[in-house]
Structure formats: C-alpha cells, structure tokens
Assembly symmetry: C2
Homo-oligomer: 491 residues x 2
Amino acid sequence: MSTKEVDVVIVGAGIAGLSCARYLLKKDETLNIVILEGKDRVGGRTLSVPLKTDDGTNTWDLGAHWVGRCQPHIMRLVGELGLKTHEQCIQGRKFLQIGKDNSVRSYASDIPTLPLLDLLDLDRTMKKLDSLAREVDQNDPYSHKRGPEFDQMTLQTYLNNTCWRAESKELMCIAVRSTLGVEAHDISMLYFLTYVSSAGGLKQLTEATPYTAQEYTIQGGTQQISLKMAGALGNSVRLGEPVTSISQAVDTVTVETGHGNVYICKKVVLAVPPNQIGKLTLEPPLPTIKRELYKRMPMANYVKIIFTYKMAFWREEGYSGESVTSGGPWTAGAGCICGPLCFTFDDTSANGDPALVTFVTGAQAVEWRQQTAEVRHKAILETLSQFFGSRVNEYVDCREKDWDEEPFCEGGPVCTAAPGAMKYYADGLRKPMGNIHLAGTETATVWAGYMSGAVQSGYRAAIEILANIRPGTVSQEDIDENNKPFKRSNS
Amino acid sequence: MSTKEVDVVIVGAGIAGLSCARYLLKKDETLNIVILEGKDRVGGRTLSVPLKTDDGTNTWDLGAHWVGRCQPHIMRLVGELGLKTHEQCIQGRKFLQIGKDNSVRSYASDIPTLPLLDLLDLDRTMKKLDSLAREVDQNDPYSHKRGPEFDQMTLQTYLNNTCWRAESKELMCIAVRSTLGVEAHDISMLYFLTYVSSAGGLKQLTEATPYTAQEYTIQGGTQQISLKMAGALGNSVRLGEPVTSISQAVDTVTVETGHGNVYICKKVVLAVPPNQIGKLTLEPPLPTIKRELYKRMPMANYVKIIFTYKMAFWREEGYSGESVTSGGPWTAGAGCICGPLCFTFDDTSANGDPALVTFVTGAQAVEWRQQTAEVRHKAILETLSQFFGSRVNEYVDCREKDWDEEPFCEGGPVCTAAPGAMKYYADGLRKPMGNIHLAGTETATVWAGYMSGAVQSGYRAAIEILANIRPGTVSQEDIDENNKPFKRSNS
C-alpha cells in the first residue's frame, strides 16, 4: 500500500492507454505518468502466443489480427515502432457456404459465385448502407436526418425491409457477425451506420484486399505494438494493479487499486472497454447519459481458434484459405442448430509456418461455448474439411481463445450499441467527466473497434489533457491530423 | 468478521427474498436461514416515507405503489400480513395530453376523448397485442411461432408497422413508458408480449379500474409488506451486509460479504434485480446464457414525485387526479425537448390526507434528471396546472425519489429486455446455477415486474429448494398453486 502523486493516471495498458501515454510524453517528456493494468500483461484485446510448428514454434495472434493502409493511425505507429507487416494471403479460390441447403460454392475473384440477382441485391444493399453511412457525422450520429428512426430499429429490421433476396441478407448478417461479433438483431441500425462510417465503408471493413482492414498481419504478432510501447515506458506501467475506485476533488483525482495503492493526479484516462466502466466506484458517480449509453453497449462474442500445419495444403489445391459460412450443417446433436464457424483465413506466418485462423462469433459463439473444446474443435474441423479436405485434421497445434473469459474485457472484439443507445452516444461516449478522460477503441471516430481506433482514441485523450494541463504543447494541426479519416485519392 | 453455517442464504431483503424466507419457514420451521441485505433497510423497490400534511405527517409510497385483485400472490400475502388496502380514486374526469399540438383533453369514462378513428385504431392495436400475448408460453416465450421474428425487432418497429394513427401509437408509447419505464424502441417486441402475458393483458397492466394492477394502494405504505415479513424473521435479516462473492463447492456454497463475514450453506437465493448479479464475484462464473441475457436486460428509468395538499381541490372540480401526457410543451429551455411528466394519480391517503403522485419515466427521466430539482419540480407543476389549475403550486410537502440513485438496484421499476435477449430468456432467467437459485420480480411468470411477481418468484425459489433439501415438504399442489395465473371468470 502506497500513495503517490503523478500528473496523469491511465487505466488500461492496451493500445489505447499506451498510445495515450506515448503521445503525452512525446509532447512533454517531463510529465509524470502511471499506467495501471489489472491483468498481468499489456495489450488489451491483442494477445500473441506461441504455437507449435512443424519444426519448432512461432507466434500467432489470438486477438486483434490485421491492419491496413486504410488505417492511418495504426500504420504510422507500427512503422514508428519498427514493426513489419505481412501481406494477408488472398490468392486462390475462396469458399462460401450459405442458403437453406448449406451448399458450398468456391470462387476465384472478390465476388462470390452467387446467382446474379443475389449479387445485384447484395451490391444494392451495400451501396445503400455505404451511402447512408457517408451521411453520418461521427461527432453526432443521432443528428442524421433519419437518426431517431434508425436508432429505434435493429439492423435486422432494416435488412428485412431492404434486402429482396434471402442470400444477400444472409451475407449481410455474416458480415455483421464477423466484423462485430453480434447478430444484426442485437444492434441499432444507426450504430451500424456509425461503425461503417468510421471505417470509411463496408468494403474496407469486410475485405482483405489492398487498402482494407484485413490487408496485413504484423510479423511476430500485434501484441508487440503494446509490448514495444510499454517497454519504452518502463516502470510507469504497473501490471496486476486493478483500479477499483476513482474520486474527483476540485483539481485532483484520487485513484485506488485493488491492492490499496493510491495515486493522486491531475488527470485520469479510462482506456478500458465501456462495459468495464460500470464496475468502478466513481465519485461523483457516472453521469446519467453515460449510464444510459453503457447499459446499451454490451461486449460482443468472439472466439478465435488457430490451427498450425506442416504444409499449407490448401494453397497447393489453389485455395486461399478464406471461407465464409453461416455455420453449415451440424448433425451430431449437442443442442446446436448449426455448425460453429463464421469465417477463416490463411494465417501462415511471414517466415512460412502454415496455419489457418478460424472464427466463431455472435450467437454461434454463445451456443458453441457451452460445448467441450473437443466437440467444438471437431465441429470446426468438420466444416473446414468440407472446404479444404480431410487434411485439415492433421494439424500440428491448435490454440483457442474465447474472449468472453478474458478479465477486464469480458468479450470481444468490441462493445456494440443496442437500439436506443445512439441518443446518448454523442454526449456519452467521448465527453470527459471532469478530469476523467475517455479512450479505448469504442471511443474512436476513425476505425472504432479496431487497433487503429484505439490509437486514435489514445491520442485524442492525450490532446484533451495536454490542452488543459500543458497548453501550447498541442496545436490545431495536431488535432486535425488526429481526426482526419483516411481517404484514398481514387475512392 | 465471522463464519457461520446455515441452510439457506437469501441475498436481498426485498419482497422476493423475504417471501422466499417466509415460505421456506412455513414449510419447515427448523430451517436455518439468513437474509443478507446490502442496504440499511428492507423493502427493495418499495419505500414508504413520511410527508407533511396539513396538520401533521402521513406515509406515502415512493416505490411500488399499487396492488389489485388480479394479482393473487400479493393480495393473499397482504391479507395474511393483516394489511389493509385502499381503493384508488378514479372517480371524476381524467386528462389526456397528446398530439403535435399538446392539446389537453378531459374525459369522464375509461375511454379517452379522441377522434373515433384514433380510438378504433388503439383498440385494434391493443387487441392484436393481447391476442399475441395470450399465445406466449411464460416458460418458453421464444418458442412462439413468431418468437425469433418478434425478438429481433423493437416494440417500436412493431408499433410503427401496426398503428395506423399517430395518436394511437403515441398512447401505446406512453403505456410502455408508464408501465416499464422505457421507450418502446428500447425493448424486444417479444419481451413486451411476455410481460403483457404475465399480467394477463394490457388492460390489467394499464388501468386503475377493478381487477387491474392499479386497483388498490396499501394503507400505511407498501414497504410494510417487507417490514412485517422481516419483523417475523427477527435476527435472520442482516442489514448493511452487501454480498460480494459466492463460490460453490460440491454440496456447499460459501457466501462472503463486504464486511468479510462468511456464510457456508446448502442453498443460496439471489433475490436481487438481474442488473446486480453481474457485480458479484461468482465461482464458477455466470453461465454464458445468463451473461447474454443480463447484458441485454438493463434497469429502466423511474422518478416518482409526490405532492401533498391541504385539500383535494381537483376532486372539487370533478377531476379524478388522473392524467396521462407525452410531456407537454416545455419552453423554458434547459435543453429538454418536452415536459417531464408521464402520468399522475390521486394519492390521497386512506384517512383523507390529499396528495397527487406524479411520474417521470423513460427517456424523459434521463433528460430531466440532469436538471436541478427546482427546475424539474417547476416544470412538473407547470404541466399539472394545465390540468388541475394553479392550486397545484400550493402544495404542503413534496418528496421525490429517483430510483436511479438507489444502491443495489440502480433504476426502476424493472429490468427490461432489449432485442435479442429472449433467445436466452427461458434458459437464462429462472434456471438455478447449481445451488444458487434465482428470485426477484423479473423472474416471475405471473405479474413479472410487480410486487405480486416478486412474491411468486420468492415462493417458486423456496419450492425449488425445499424439493431438494426437504423433499416431502412441498407437493405438486403447492407448485401448481404458485404457478396459477389469475383468471377472472368473466374475462
């Protein structure tokens, strides 16, 4: 038990919190900062772990996975930290399994082999959504001319009213499940538009082509981003220090941890997911607007399973390793109505150790989480074998991460907003509470929900604080630069 | 700090927890029970307080308020406890303020003075909802033939698609706001049907006529229900003992409180609102189904303000004291788009001390909570004066209760379910977790959300426990009796 005075306490040593610390110190290295992390590791929703390979081990990502040139904040940081990207393999035929008959189609281009009417309807629906998303003001989504209407319906209702073909609707639902870890009926239509808007479009969110969110992996794993930043911060990062209460006086804030340590500071940054904030004892308590927002922003469901192989046998047969499915059939009982899988990618490391990464998300994650790992993995491999053949079963190693079990996070990839939430979004999400500032990828205006958004949110919180306690260290240019969305000249 | 062995630990000394203890002891008086309550009072979401009257003081209810003969569980308990009911005054003209022009209409019968087409549409909408509600199986609402469809839309979407007239839709939205404390867009359509079904119909939920939920008040206040039960339980009720963690071994459960006291028992009953369960440290942790349900069941918003008067001047002018409004105009600025009020009733005590009870609920509660009490009360009185004249300002005493500020509850009147929740309702809401059983009005099948449901849920949890640790003390007749909904012979 100790009491310490510092300038800034940052709660959470994920990418947002560490980016915030880094930015603060870049602008004023005399600042005294402490970063308190409940877990015994840094990295938040990134986690890079070793898996066995044919002839040793290598590192794979069980959490946040990809970056892309459309994400300026993370790309710049990755470069500054000296990390190297590795292009996502997308060469080869892909698989799509949708429809009542769970039929498996393979296709070579970016466009699935579907009946023309389905493709036209999908294109039409995506264009409508993109067009609406472009109209959303990140700083006040609810002010959209159809804001209240779209916040009062689920995305599912919008899709029901918009899609003419069952298959295009099914693909949209898979897109939501794979990007957000929820079902289209869980979220506010206006929230979805806001999310799409922050990413610049549906294509950027869902594809692995150049200038999209799944363009590159990070060599050696994404957790290095946090590890490198934390390394430079040295003793300022305190692991295993869960914050339990924060109380504000006129000019100071007192932060207490579960171990009874007390930090007295000028500013606090909460760089944790919104679903964790309600667990803190705050004095004064949470403003009603934030309470209403957080009530409606639960964390989604994401399970990631990586299989390593001796050979990238799928490549030999001309497959990219990419597949998208509604789950497919599951006839072995155990109370599940469909298979567990949502999507897969080739996850062969930069130095050539073959792997497939598979995702179980949304309602399927809830359902399949209740099975044993053995049953779940068997079902995943059964689905995979429909695409890539029986050699999927000859894996070298397998590692699963259910983010629901992760402390100080309790789900993944992101807290999403139910109907009615967006009324409280603009005033609730980012606005500081006195001297408590808010970071975390959910609070980003550019690539919310992604590592890039985490960085942007950390910088933004840092700018807010500097403008207040170190006026003159930040310029309007800094602010504009950080708020700038990525625009490709040709898009 | 102490360690104690008991048979049953009940968490929460509201009506559900106390009813549970009472039932257990009625069936086996040798049972050793302790009831742990975090607050320094019993009664949960009931709270009876003194207000000044013309010539002294009297007691009014700031929490749960009414009972009715349609609610068998609470009516029987009230009788057994020797409490007396008092008929809600509904004689006289009522006020209705809806529509774009906020026009105020008064009417004498049960049927508002609205254009015939509005009334027909309202009647048609209510009949449709009632008819659907009758088809809902309380034990498995999701199995309704349109279960998934209705769970994937907000109630607002259903009303948008169903109501032909703006006024009938507005009245339905007020009905939702007044009964549940939420907006129609916050909740799952299937949840609403389930709620209506547990009450036996919309009329029973919304009216104050004979055999409805607002038929009677309790003389001396509803908190007496808990006070009387707690009195009979003596030292078993421990106030100011917030439970922090519960861990289960094979045959025993260990319950720890914030003061470090430890109770080792065979069975635990969580008789707290669902929004509080996530705050406990549970070992094993919450099953995924319950987590998913609770994520989508936040507590609603309810503020109650009572004004006492020298005279029931509204009665003199032929008014019942009842009014229903969308809020009405509010031109004094302060960022609120409409007035705060939702509905009012005469709240004159059984011995004739005049009062009006007023309610601020749903999104209006969130908005108006941010104003000072002075501004809020001024706005309420301004709206009231439109109905009952300027004498509303000459109140003797005024007392407000914002349930959002209540610890171990954090809102009122009830936790409601967002879209997507009902998929997890049947398996998540009532099913015991090992030796932890669940009570609380949200878990009732008859009058969920009401005091009557709290009683039914407490009895049901008691029956579950007795069947397990004292087989033979409960019969199928006990179970059937407790599950029986009220049916009026002529309805």
